[in-house]
């Protein structure tokens, strides 16, 4: 190897890049014919060129899938936009489980075991469900799907006693710690943190924590008798040979699949009309770092805090919801008591902001969000009323302040009289024969 070889090495590299002039190419060929070192060097660089080409070809083979995944993500965004008729949307939910149910659960835990092992099939399903009841930690994937809506996926983590973390791929992370009464949502893309401080967390806060909710539902479904459990046989589920059971009980319409050999749950699907919530990739008792559930806000994030009362809404909360509604809707009450009505509220507020002709400030938006959170606290009261309460809503054309016209009536359990809420939001006890028609 001589000084010329050093120059030739540059030419060799350029030849692989195909940027040699004809003269340089000739010079290179001449040198290579008489220099084995440079020939070896040229061979090595050409081989590396092949490897680099193969590397990119290999990456290209999955490029279409990567692009598809991206377009699907964009579609999700788009369909959510489409779904949002207004700029804001609310879907309401009924009140969570009553305290009375806690007693049922305790009963089930204490006495249910007997029934749990009542039949051959139930021995199997008991084994399968056991990890959901006893796991200290778990990691899993949650997929929520519904007709006409793209599925939403989350990576979930659970840690005793009631900590939960779930992350939407490429999106926000939500950390829930019910002991601390906090939900922290971290949005890395916009460096935003949304903190929801909750008070009056119920004793049975299952649906605040997905894993706990599954656990609670399993407990509540006890005893699992032959009538409520259907053996679905054996089939491949998520790449594993699995046996499945369909459980049909009030509050639990779900399918559980477990590995045929280990009996460890592979997949759990719960039907929540119109949605199906699936839990897959389940790993129990995995070592999880406590820091994953830290409620500390990372540096640089802007923080918006909301407060939410999680107590079971009572009549006064219901009245307060009417008040907030009417005050923000120019004195009108909802046309009907339906979940979709909250969309009407949103749209109206949006129109009002548009009319003002100015972009709302962050404080305006935050204030409105808190208003919505407060307003929606009381309305689920109506969903807790049983059919025999004979409730009726008549507020459609009533204006706030109308002390003579009732907007809502219901009969509390065991009461001889009705509770009647009027347009000025005072409440009276009224005998059935005195009710206005």
């Amino acid at each position: 190897m001589n000084r010329e070889c050093d120059k030739i090495k540059d030419l060799i590299a350029d030849s692989v890049t195909e940027t040699l002039s004809p003269d340089q190419a000739r010079q290179l060929d001449e040198h290579l014919s008489g220099c084995s070192d440079c020939r070896n060097y040229a061979d090595a660089l050409r081989y590396e060129d092949v490897l680099l080409t193969q590397l990119v070809v290999g990456l290209d083979t999955d490029m279409r899938n990567r692009q598809r995944r991206l377009l699907e993500t964009l579609d999700r965004c788009q369909s959510e936009q489409r779904e949002t008729i207004t700029k804001w949307r609310i879907i309401m939910k009924s009140p969570i489980t009553k305290i009375a149910a806690v007693a049922v659960i305790i009963t089930a835990v204490t006495f249910g075991v007997h029934h749990f092992y009542g039949s051959v099939e139930n021995v199997a399903i008991a084994d399968i469900l056991q990890p959901f009841l006893t796991a200290r930690t778990a990691t899993f994937k949650i997929t929520i799907s519904g007709e006409g809506v793209p599925p939403q996926e989350y990576d979930g983590m659970f840690m005793e006693p009631c900590r939960m973390r779930h992350t939407q791929p490429g999106g926000a992370t939500v950390i829930v710690d019910l002991e601390q009464g906090k939900f922290v949502t971290l949005i890395p893309q916009t460096m935003q943190a949304v903190v929801l401080e909750v008070t009056n967390v119920p004793e049975d806060p299952g649906d605040l924590n997905f894993f706990r909710e599954i656990r609670n539902r399993i407990l509540k479904a006890q005893p699992l008798d032959d009538e409520s459990v259907e053996f679905l046989g054996e089939q491949e589920v998520d790449g594993q040979l699995a046996i499945g059971y369909h459980i049909r009980k009030p509050g639990l319409d779900g399918t559980v699949w477990a590995n045929s050999e280990t009996k460890m749950p592979v997949r759990m699907e719960i039907r929540e009309d119109p949605m199906v919530i699936a839990m897959s990739n389940i790993v129990f008792n995995v070592e999880l770092d406590e820091a994953l559930f830290s409620l500390e806000i990372p540096q640089g994030y802007s923080v918006t805090t909301f407060r939410r009362d999680l107590s079971e809404p009572a009549e006064q909360d219901f009245v307060e919801s009417f008040r907030i509604w009417a005050e923000h809707m120019d004195g009108r009450f909802p046309s009907e008591l339906d979940r979709s009505q909250v969309n009407v509220f949103m749209k109206y507020q949006q129109e009002k902001m548009k009319e003002k002709g100015i972009e709302p400030s962050v404080d305006d938006i935050t204030q409105l969000q808190q208003t919505i959170v407060d307003m929606t606290h009381g309305f689920p009261f109506v969903e807790s009323l049983p059919a025999e309460s004979d409730w009726r809503y008549t507020g459609k054309d009533v204006r706030l302040g109308d002390a003579d016209t009732p907007i809502f009536r219901y009969r509390p359990k065991g009461s001889q009289t009705y509770r009647v809420i009027y347009g000025d939001l005072h409440v009276e006890d009224v005998a059935p024969d005195k009710l206005s028609k």
């Binding site: 660089l45 590396e48 965004c77 936009q81 804001w88 309401m92 939910k93 926000a172 929540e272 939410r308």
Partner: protein, 193 residues
């Protein structure tokens, strides 16, 4: 979740920010789609995604990180499309977004090391060679790794490297030459170990 009723979710959006607060569990609190014309953006994705992925891979030298970064870049692009006056400038604009995003990731990554996955579909010998190659690529300095990998992503076109890196053609050729020589050096060192 609760029997018979969907989760209570409040979703609040404005033109400049949007998020969703769940009454009980704050599920899916965020969507961050700001762009309006999704169909038009799909066309841009199809046209530019591969290039953006190539830039991300060239900078991060890891397939999964590159896919994440490319996805984040394109979503960011969708969100911020309205700030782009001239659609003709989309390519350099989105590449700049990708590069900034990768720089951020590299800073964070310096605290953790990820294993390199071996590509499938190759012989054992080629697999090992590919593995060594990826390790060596990772060790190339950024200013050489980017033109080298983009050369292969851009159909072996040195001129386009010059244009996208805003350097002269001879400058691009020189970097490619140095990249090849240093890569060979790194691979030789690995082979001798």
């Amino acid at each position: 979740m609760h029997s018979g009723l969907p989760p209570f979710v409040i979703r609040i959006e404005t033109g400049f920010k949007e998020f969703r607060v769940n009454d009980r569990s704050v599920q899916n609190p965020v969507t961050w789609c700001g762009g309006k014309d999704k169909a038009a953006y799909d066309v841009l994705v199809k046209e530019h995604y591969r290039h953006v992925f190539g830039v991300c891979f060239a900078m991060l030298a890891n397939v999964h990180d590159a896919e994440d970064a490319a996805q984040e870049t394109m979503l960011k692009g969708f969100l911020k499309m309205r700030t782009l006056d001239d659609i003709e400038r989309f390519r350099p604009w989105i590449v700049r977004v990708a590069r900034n995003l990768c720089i951020d990731r590299l800073r964070k990554q310096s605290r953790r090391k990820l294993p390199v996955e071996k590509p499938a579909g190759l012989s054992r010998q080629d697999l090992d060679a590919q593995y060594d190659l990826e390790q060596a690529i990772k060790r190339l300095p950024q200013e050489l790794r980017l033109p080298l990998l983009m050369f292969y992503f851009n159909g072996r076109n040195a001129k386009s490297i010059a244009a996208s890196m805003n350097i002269s053609h001879s400058g691009a050729c020189q970097r490619l030459r140095m990249a090849r020589q240093q890569l060979h050096q790194l691979l030789s060192e690995r082979a001798q170990r």
